[in-house]
């Protein structure tokens, strides 16, 4: 029996590099976006440590912009039985499609989806405890987690709640968040619904009172709902996701921090892809996926009376491209993204003469390579 449950240390990882061209600005960028190292250790039959260490942009050099070294995950998993386990540490809450499974070999396009970058801020990791389970005899997974909350003082205009993540560093634990998800796998389909509810005031109660913010575990909350499905059958894949973020106390946040927080934002996308090598025995083990994805997001779908409308955050994206996998763990990608946004609010124009005048439409070309192991 010991061979089947033996202790072990595993090493793996993933990464990607990209070239992208912005047609309006006439600029191109080449970047080693990320290289991630997994290290996992199985202490015994029921206790395992998992970690992911990420470096972005190849280099971190003191005083210079760009680059980041961060733990994406570092947690211990305690198995109750094969179908139920606890986690404790820094982990990725189960929300969205990409947050848990974001290897470059598993999604189309060089960029992660806009919706799951700016509405659901993947990869979103926080400190906490989680419980995961599979229903006996059914392909139904469920999970619930308690993690530290967001920090509304660091929300930034144009990036939703993304900059409010603590990501494991000096997180305020005065405010907490509950997140949960249900997943159902039925034949070629996978469905998921997920939710999040958490407080966003990291300040002390006294400081919060001074700022006229509601503090406490769920004070000045953010609420998120998400649903998605995935379908895969004989080379054809389809994905769709919809999510809404509600920040009912956005007025109070803007009054305290002046960061133009919206009271509601939403995002949705649908993607179809087909492996043109499907059924070709000579090309078995290789994939050439042709895909198209439409995304719709609005990071200021509803703003409080002290907010400023920014039409540039009301966006449509159409991405078309190919992903070639010579083997399962290597992918070469090429895609075009067309962006159509709303009108710019003149009050928000930067007036930077080095930048091309605002154009509500733009086109981006990207080429990239990704790997996982």
């Amino acid at each position: 029996m010991s061979q089947l449950t033996s202790s072990s240390t595993t090493i793996g990882g993933y990464g990607n590099a990209v070239y992208s061209h912005d047609v309006n600005q006439k600029t191109s960028l080449a970047d080693l976006e990320r290289v991630v190292l997994f290290v996992g250790h199985k202490f015994n039959a029921s206790t395992t440590f998992f970690s992911e260490l990420e470096m972005e942009d190849a280099k971190v050099s003191g005083g210079e912009d760009g680059g980041e070294i961060a733990f994406e995950q570092a947690y211990v998993k305690f198995d109750i039985d094969p179908d139920h386990y606890f986690t404790a540490g820094l982990f990725l809450p189960r929300i969205g499609i990409l947050n848990e499974n974001h290897l470059p070999t598993t999604f189309n396009g060089n960029e992660r989806t806009q919706v799951e970058t700016y509405i659901l801020p993947s990869t979103w990791r926080e400190l906490g405890i989680g419980f995961y389970g599979t229903m006996s005899g059914m392909p139904l997974n469920y999970s619930i987690a308690l993690v530290n909350g967001l920090n509304s003082s660091t929300f930034e205009h144009g990036s939703g709640i993304r900059e409010g993540r603590f990501e494991g560093r000096n997180a305020s634990a005065n405010n907490l968040a509950l997140t949960g998800a249900l997943q159902l796998r039925e034949g070629d389909w996978k469905f998921q619904v997920a939710g999040y509810y958490g407080g966003t005031v990291a300040a002390s109660p006294q400081a919060a009172d001074t700022l006229q913010l509601s503090s406490g575990i769920f004070g000045t909350p953010v609420a998120i709902g998400e649903a998605d499905f995935q379908y895969e059958h004989e080379g054809l894949t389809a994905r769709a996701l919809g999510t809404i973020v509600s920040i009912p106390d956005a007025f109070e946040i803007n009054r305290a921090y002046g960061n133009n927080t919206p009271s509601r934002e939403y995002g949705t996308y649908i993607e179809l892809a087909y492996n043109v090598f499907q059924g070709c025995e000579q090309l078995r083990g290789k994939q050439l996926n042709v895909f198209a994805r439409y995304e719709r997001l609005d990071m200021n779908a509803s703003i409080p009376s002290n907010g400023v409308t920014d039409g540039t955050l009301d966006q449509h994206h159409l991405i078309v491209g190919i992903s070639y996998l010579p083997i399962n763990d290597i992918v070469l990608k090429a895609d075009v993204r067309w962006l159509k946004a709303g009108d710019q609010n003149p009050a928000l124009a930067t007036g930077n003469p080095a930048e091309s005048p605002y154009d509500a439409t733009n086109t981006f070309f990207s080429l990239g390579i990704g790997f996982s192991y």
């Binding site: 029996m1 089947l4 395992t48 179908d83 848990e100 059914m138 392909p139 034949g187 399962n328 996982s372």
Partner: protein, 114 residues
């Protein structure tokens, strides 16, 4: 493979073996076997030739438990997928699920966990 509910069978372990009654198998459906106190489930399927395929549901990438789903098996840790025969259909796993010895004897299927 069956859709919807999956038959689950809880089995004690005796001398590193698990015994599953043949009578459980009406057709060629998959049964999830849960050996008592064992950290991984086993997928057991009768093939059309009457032999049995037993797959240890331990992901070959980072040893996480693998669940039945998607007409195969899925690891939620990094997204690895396996088909009904245990072969990798999506990485980062590269090795197939481990096959266990399954022997038919005296109206039972015996799985060795050694």
């Amino acid at each position: 493979m069956s859709c919807g509910s999956i038959p689950v069978y809880d089995a004690p372990i005796t001398e590193d073996r698990v015994k599953i009654p043949l009578s459980l198998f009406v057709g060629n459906e998959v049964h999830i076997i849960r050996p008592a106190g064992f950290p991984y489930n086993i997928a057991l399927q009768r093939k059309s030739d009457g032999t049995f395929l037993a797959l240890l549901l331990r992901c070959t990438h980072a040893d996480n438990q693998v669940n039945y789903g998607g007409n195969g098996y899925v690891c939620n840790l990094h997204g690895s997928r396996y088909d009904a025969a245990g072969e990798v259909t999506r990485g980062p796993a590269t090795r197939p699920l481990r096959k266990l010895m399954a022997e038919v004897r005296d109206l039972s299927v015996l799985l060795s966990l050694a």
